[in-house]
């Protein structure tokens, strides 16, 4: 394949390379576990290596899709309705990079954790990666839905087979909860295609063409709610979040890392890519509801995290809180808000991914996740303590670390929409400090109360290699977020402008901001 040919089909290569890797692993005999691990890591590392040039080849300043490939796939009613059309823009670029990066880290992180049936485990992880990448690059609604559902299956098995004691309950709950939500979305997808067909005689599922679809106010609300439910469950937003703590507690370490790092972002990505551009008026009408749910999610998630006895549950509820910020950022419809929510997604991927790895590492040593079983382990594990503190600080939004950039932009965005949103959301910063530091105090600090803790070994080289990139990621995103922000801005601005033009009475702040944004660039 010539260089520019490779560049043209890079997205397809990235997405399906892991699948090929999974097939390759299936051929390796079951006993050769080291070979399996090596191949798994090699494939995920290769995928990440190929995805890195995306970051540099990406033309900043253009809102449109790049690296697009558009090939007919299924013909319906004589028209090529369903097409294999893929492409990424400012929004999905970082999701793809985050996925490949975290999967590589997760696979490396699970070498010690997974003891039985490694072959199936690593094959499933790679299949999961393909599923996730597919969701982020799909530009055809059916292709998107296929990957959206396909991605559930490997995750279900990873939680169901290698999970903790209540893994079956958790896996089934996770699967059915997400599936139920997305079925409504399927109905909405079909409805939209039919409406387009009736209106223009063109049967297509392509996202681009369906953007400007005219529809009655009532239908738009219904379709919006269908999409919103599917994504709200995925985010998870306040009332639909109860599957997350169970899924996280029961999932193996790497499963949790991927679940928190990438799967949750599909919800917010979905809002930005589908919900808002397809139904601008309905989004504006429902914005207060979604903002309220987001803010409740922030405060509720933080408060409940405060009293969790189990570390993983605590981190799970903290994810509910962090993603509440992200949702708030999206639905205030300001440029800063949306960009903040995107940065928050990436930073949450780094910090929560690292947190789960950290919890997993001491779980592998002590086989317990209860906070009171630990105490004073900083004295015994200095390197672990140091990384734990840096990641905690990133998670609660300390400036010059990734958490702050996301939170700050969302707060700016929400203040422009309505100052009270920002006031309520900012309380999240205090609450997150409360539960994180209290957990840190009970785990790392204080005297060593149990003698098993005295014998804990500090992080070995492999564990350091797994954690250091994540720490580096949080620091880079915190200190110099400009390359990220520049690449996101045009596409996000495009989405926000859709709502503003559709929005009849968007507050004056938007105009001022948009105008200022214009001459500032």
């Amino acid at each position: 394949m010539g260089a520019e040919q490779f560049q043209k089909h890079i997205l397809t290569v990235i997405t399906f390379l892991p699948l090929a890797g999974a097939a390759l692993i299936a051929l390796i005999p079951r006993r050769a576990t080291t070979a399996i691990k090596a191949v798994a890591f090699a494939v995920s590392a290769a995928t990440f290596a190929i995805s890195v040039p995306l970051f540099f080849w990406f033309r900043t300043g253009t809102p449109g899709m790049q690296f697009t490939v558009d090939v007919p796939w299924i013909t319906l009613l004589g028209q090529q309705a369903i097409r294999y059309s893929v492409g990424i823009d400012g929004i999905s670029l970082f999701m793809v990079l985050l996925t490949t990066f975290l999967t590589m880290i997760a696979i490396a992180g699970s070498f010690a954790g997974i003891k039985d049936r490694e072959r199936e485990y690593y094959a499933l992880m790679l299949m999961l990666e393909t599923g996730m990448l597919g969701v982020f690059i799909a530009l055809d609604l059916v292709l998107f839905y296929v990957f959206w559902e396909a991605m559930l299956i490997p995750m279900y098995f990873i939680i169901g087979v290698w999970g903790g004691p209540r893994r079956i309950y958790a896996a089934v709950k996770f699967f059915i909860y997400t599936m139920a939500g997305s079925l409504l979305m399927l109905v909405a997808i079909i409805a939209m295609a039919v409406m387009k067909y009736q209106a223009t005689g063109v049967l297509t599922f392509s996202v681009q063409e369906l953007y400007g679809l005219e529809m009655a106010r009532g239908t738009q609300t219904l379709l919006f709610l269908a999409y919103a439910l599917a994504f709200a469950i995925k985010v998870p937003m306040f009332p639909f979040h109860t599957w997350l703590p169970d899924a996280h507690v029961e999932a193996p370490t790497a499963g949790s890392v991927i679940l928190a790092g990438v799967l949750l972002k599909m919800g917010t990505y979905g809002f930005l890519r589908f919900c808002i551009p397809f139904f601008p008026e309905a989004s504006l009408a429902f914005a207060p509801v979604m903002i309220a749910l987001g803010i409740i999610g922030i405060i509720y998630g933080a408060l409940v995290a405060l009293v969790q006895p189990d570390m993983k549950k605590l981190v799970a509820y903290s994810s509910v809180s962090h993603l509440g910020v992200s949702v708030l950022g999206i639905f205030v419809f300001t440029l800063q808000g949306a960009q903040g929510s995107l940065v928050q997604m990436i930073s949450h991927g780094f910090s929560t991914g690292a947190l789960f790895l950290l919890v997993g590492m001491i779980y592998e040593r002590r086989h317990t996740r209860l906070i009171e079983d630990y105490g004073g382990i900083w004295a015994v594990m200095p390197k672990y303590g140091a990384i734990f503190i840096i990641i905690t600080m990133a998670s609660i939004g300390l400036p010059f670390l990734s958490g702050f950039v996301g939170e700050w932009l969302v707060l700016v965005g929400s203040w422009l929409a309505n100052p009270w949103y920002a006031v309520l959301a900012a309380t999240g910063a205090i609450l997150s400090a409360c539960y994180m530091l209290w957990m840190l105090q009970r785990v790392l600090q204080g005297p060593i109360t149990r003698d098993e803790n005295r014998a804990l070994k500090d992080l070995n080289f492999r564990e350091m290699v797994v954690l250091v990139p994540l720490v580096a990621g949080t620091i880079w995103l915190g200190v110099y977020p400009k390359p990220f922000l520049d690449r996101m801005e045009p596409s996000v601005d495009n989405v926000i402008r859709m709502v503003q033009t559709a929005g009849v009475s968007s507050p004056a702040a938007y105009q001022a901001d948009a105008a200022a944004g214009e001459e500032a660039r």
């Binding site: 004073g376 010059f400 100052p419 205090i430 105090q441 204080g446 400009k482 922000l485």
Partner: protein
């Protein structure tokens, strides 16, 4: 030329952090300590060079040096970059931070000599210096906030340095959380500023406010109050001061550097930096003055009865900070900064003195089990006395000049009022008394230590005592920088040496006369009773009032001597007569207990309810109920499969009937 060296000031400590942080445990102790000290020395040298450069620039030119390093967050209309600024105010602060900081670093090499995590301590100390310098040199609010939270983090790490001690870990967490509550207010203030002015750079914001003063007083008041919430959190004012006394769990040099000289003064620096904002919001100024005065008095009363040497000094710091805020409140920002500088010297001296006392008598902090230490530790004792006299406001030491200037302007300042003056004087008396009590109980009277310790008491090593003497020198002569006009004219000193410090700070702080005009203009319509320009107080009063406070201070020191040296029993007797009042003060008005009863415990209970009740019971219950419902429904349908053949036949026939009936309609 100096312009492009500004980045060196924060860069040196950062380098120190990287060296000690990554390689520390491999380096020998000596090297790790010296690297840390050199880092701070480097930035001290550069900041002094910057200060001198500013001094030399003629009055006409703008005394400001800018350096933009790299763009930080830029989206749409929100553009901020990491850029530094050196103007008189930040130069003074930088010199204080690096100067006192360097001395404390040297002191720490001695104090922490045999601590197992030696290199980690110096990493945190350097990180703190880096964050503080960032805070001070930032040229926009967001970068200042980076430093603001950075010092909060370092104070958390350093308070909880001996994390094996549960009380230290808890104190660290408490400090961070209370600071975070303050930062919450500061955050909202910044958001408000951006929303109103469209940018967070000082230059842009201050010019817009200066352009049309008094235009948006209401919004400015809200902004200033929010910023002040941040200041109360960071500089331990009511109601967010509770963390400072507990912060004494950390090593003493930490208390000296962070909880006396530098970090706690960040709030005062911020208020002084935004003086143009505060001056245009007289209501906010009034609030600051009231809270400052209240804190000063409140903390001083608690300080009277504390028995832990460091807690007395902690409450004294809270009280002195109250003074500074009162000064800002009445519009005398330069006086506040001057007191901040002098306070940094003598409070650091007192803390380090206390540190060498604790070091000398092997970790004993309760002054009731000390006494007569002058014999064993003459240098520490002597320098401690200098600190005590300075803080009590005895001329010619620095405390006298800075504190009396504040007391004078609390009456004669733009927002001055005799009530502030009264509080100022009373607090000065209390300060003199509790410092005298502390010094006499520690260094004079019969030694109350157990016998076996007495033989082992020793004077601190050279590295610590030299620092003490250096700070003592600073404490004595720092005052001469800003001699007030009244004394200056009386002694016919050359014109430029009078109030030199205030004139130097002119460009970056709103001058008193100008402040008075702005306040009058802004307060024109404000209904608040207090808010009106102070009646003209003629300067003749200044000297007699100064004399009054000096005499009162002397009296209280004499009272202290009589109570604690000549007749040691009197204090306990007096306390016995009013046990309720004594225990109230001893338990610091039960503020901590009230907070935990009002905020912490209900908060936890509510979260537990949220988790158990709402999350597990209602939402999860609902989800499981749906699953249970389908279970029941399917069990119901099972009955239909009864296996009774003729039952099926009857069913079929009935169905047929219905179908026929429907079709024939």
């Amino acid at each position: 030329m100096i312009g492009d060296f500004l980045w060196l000031i924060p860069a040196f400590p950062l380098a120190g952090v990287l060296v000690n942080g990554l390689l520390g445990h491999r380096l020998p102790r000596m090297l790790s300590g010296t690297v840390a000290c050199l880092a701070v020395l480097g930035s001290a040298v550069v900041s002094v060079m910057g200060l001198l450069h500013l001094l030399q620039t003629p009055a006409g030119q703008a005394r400001e040096i800018h350096q933009t390093l790299f763009p930080w967050i830029s989206t749409g209309s929100f553009q901020t970059s990491v850029s530094l600024m050196l103007d008189p105010l930040s130069a003074v602060m930088a010199c204080v931070v690096t100067g006192v900081g360097f001395l404390i670093h040297v002191y720490s090499t001695g104090y922490m000599a045999h601590d197992p995590r030696y290199h980690r301590y110096f990493t945190y100390l350097n990180l703190f210096t880096f964050a503080m310098l960032l805070l001070v040199l930032a040229d926009n609010f967001l970068l200042m906030f980076v430093g603001w939270e950075g010092v909060g983090l370092c104070s958390y790490l350093l308070i909880g340095f001996w994390f094996q001690k549960p009380s230290a870990a808890a104190a660290g967490k408490k400090a961070f959380l209370v600071n975070r509550v303050g930062d919450f207010g500061f955050l909202l203030g910044m958001l408000f500023i951006f929303a109103v002015f469209g940018s967070l750079d000082y230059r842009v914001v201050f010019d817009k406010v200066a352009a049309e003063p008094g235009a948006i007083t209401a919004t400015l008041t809200a902004i200033c109050l929010l910023l002040f919430v941040g200041a109360t959190g960071k500089s331990a004012q009511i109601p967010l001061y509770v963390w400072l006394p507990d912060a004494m769990e950390g090593p003493t040099p930490v208390s000296a550097l962070i909880h006396a000289a530098t970090m706690v003064t960040a709030g005062v620096y911020m208020v002084a930096r935004c003086s143009i904002l505060f001056v245009n919001a007289p209501a906010a100024l009034l609030v600051i003055a009231i809270i400052g005065a209240a804190t000063a008095l409140f903390a001083a009363t608690i300080g009277l009865v504390q028995n832990d040497i460091k807690r007395v000094l902690a409450y004294s710091t809270v009280s002195q900070l109250g003074y500074m805020f009162m000064a800002c409140g009445v519009g005398a920002f330069a006086a506040a900064i001057f007191h901040l500088m002098t306070h940094a010297f003598f409070k650091a001296l007192l803390f380090l003195g206390a540190g060498s006392v604790i070091h000398g008598i092997h970790e004993e902090q309760d002054i009731r089990r000390m006494g007569g230490l002058m014999k064993w530790m003459p240098i520490t004792g002597f320098t401690f006395w200098i600190g005590t006299l300075a803080i009590a406001g005895i001329p010619p030491l620095s405390g006298f000049f800075s504190k009396d200037e504040i007391i004078w302007y609390s009456l004669a300042g733009p927002m001055g009022h005799w009530a502030f003056w009264a509080v100022g004087v009373v607090t000065a008396v209390l300060t003199a008394f509790y410092m005298a009590r502390l010094t006499f109980k520690t260094f004079h009277g019969q030694p109350r230590m157990p016998e076996e310790i007495r033989s082992k008491i020793h004077e601190s090593p050279l590295s610590m005592t030299t620092v003490l003497t250096a700070l003592a020198v600073g404490a004595v002569f720092a005052g001469l920088v800003n001699i007030p006009e009244a004394i200056g004219h009386r002694l016919h000193l050359p014109e430029n040496s009078i109030a030199a410090f205030t004139h130097f700070l002119e460009p970056s702080i709103v001058e008193k006369k100008e402040a008075a005009l702005l306040i009058a203009n802004a307060a024109g319509n404000a209904p608040v009773g207090f808010v009106r320009p102070a009646p003209h107080v003629d300067h003749a009063l200044e000297l007699p009032l100064m004399g009054l406070t000096f005499v009162l201070a002397l009296l209280s020191i004499a009272l202290g001597a009589s109570w604690y040296v000549r007749r040691p029993g009197t204090a306990t007797a007096l306390a016995a007569r009013a046990p309720a009042l004594y225990s109230l003060l001893l338990n610091k008005y039960y503020v901590d207990e009230i907070y935990s009863a009002i905020i912490v415990r209900p908060g936890m209970a509510f979260s537990r309810f949220l988790w158990r009740g709402v999350d597990v019971l209602i939402i999860d219950g609902l989800v499981n109920a749906v699953a249970w419902f389908f279970g029941i429904a399917s069990r119901l349908f099972r009955v239909v499969q009864s296996g009774y053949v003729r039952g099926y036949a009857a069913g079929m026939l009935a169905g047929a009937l219905i179908v026929i009936w429907v079709l024939s309609r």
